[in-house]
Symmetry: D2
């Protein structure tokens, strides 16, 4: 298991009339978590797309436990749980000062520009795999 | 089971670099589906909040099957599956020309301004219940 | 002058903690106004991009006079004021029940995939010009 | 003149099909710039609202010079140019590695919960003024 932690401050436009962080916005935060987890491991999602690959979300699930408000500084824990040849499984835990606000999980697939499923690396090392793909594109 | 259907056209700002409707945006569409289902039954979510009640999302789940693109006209089917004293359960099916793009479900709770859980109407008639609450606020 | 009118209902996620439609969201509405003005004249912005052209915003200005709230049904008037070889000038007026909420104007340029400025049609007929471009791509 | 600088990384959902940071998103960045300028001067916009005051945008203008892309790290310079009894004037300059991407300006007014205009502090010291308001609410 591979976990990374980032801090995110709630922006004004991300709140709604109820005074809370809008529920759809949590999924934007989870995407930031994935991006920064990959960057912390030496990869970069821009390089993924430059190599002609796209990580697309195929499943999302979230339980909202407490609400968040404007300007609060939240902590997001992102964990890459599992890579199978077809899919990446992440888990997320969003906290405010140690209090759990939300728990979520996602499943991503890797496709090429034509939308065909691409096999993910069996050793789970996405940055190294991307480097190999970039160096040697398929004939 | 109570189902309602609306059409939604994908806006330019809702797409992303990949060229697709961004995955977090689906949850905004599902919220529109709930709003319009309530309106079609004679209720209005503004009246819910004016009565001091808030329907908060406590759980979301979505399976993404096909992607959508800018300017496509989508059809969203929203179904109120069940109301328990504590929660409302909705299901969603998003289509483009009859092709299923995504399936989702949500659970909402009803809270007052202080965040205390409020009992939902056992007969499932939210508009009538709201009318009664508005007419006779708690002492 | 060429004017078109659309109705837009304020979405919940477009409001903020203050209880109002967030100011950045007005520019999303103005973009919808341009899209629908073009569609009403027989054009489609998807076809513009399919022809390898992109209308990019180079200048925006907005005066906010009254705020809008969740679920309000607004009327947006979009006017194509002028097309020069280099730029398109639009004006916008956003109303709620006849009351002016905001006035704005934008300038757009037309570029190709490489970002080079493209000359706009001198007769101002963008749909016809796009049709000609699509039929006869440059050698 | 009072200037503050922050870094902002372009999020995936903030881009659009064209592959660029969507133009409406720039105004979200400018709002972050104002928030962080105030924080750097010892104030906090949450305290402003807690004191029953709201800074509302009444005018915006932006010139877009170059586009930005996903994951780029931008630098935003926010300057409080002038405070009159009625209005605050800010200027913004957004850069990528020293290259100017956009220039903008905004005018904000201060209103109370009823929407009545409130006089801003003549010495321009918003944090101190807020502290005074919070300590001595009007009779």
């Amino acid at each position: 298991m591979d976990t990374h932690e980032i801090e995110i401050r709630v922006r004004y436009n991300e709140t709604d009339s109820m005074g809370f962080l809008h529920h759809a916005q949590y999924f934007v935060y989870f995407e930031l978590g994935r991006t920064e987890l990959l960057r912390a491991r030496g990869g970069n999602y821009r390089d993924v797309e430059a190599a002609g690959l796209f990580l697309v979300v195929v499943q999302l699930e979230c339980r909202f436990r407490k609400s968040a408000r404007y300007d609060e500084l939240l902590t997001l824990q992102t964990t890459l749980e599992k890579i199978t040849p077809a899919k990446m499984h992440h888990k997320y835990r969003l906290y405010r000062a140690g209090e759990l606000l939300a728990e979520a999980q996602s499943v991503l697939a890797c496709v090429d520009r034509q939308g065909s499923i691409q096999r993910l690396p069996e050793d789970g090392d996405l940055p190294a795999w991307l480097a190999r793909r970039a160096a040697a594109p398929p004939a």
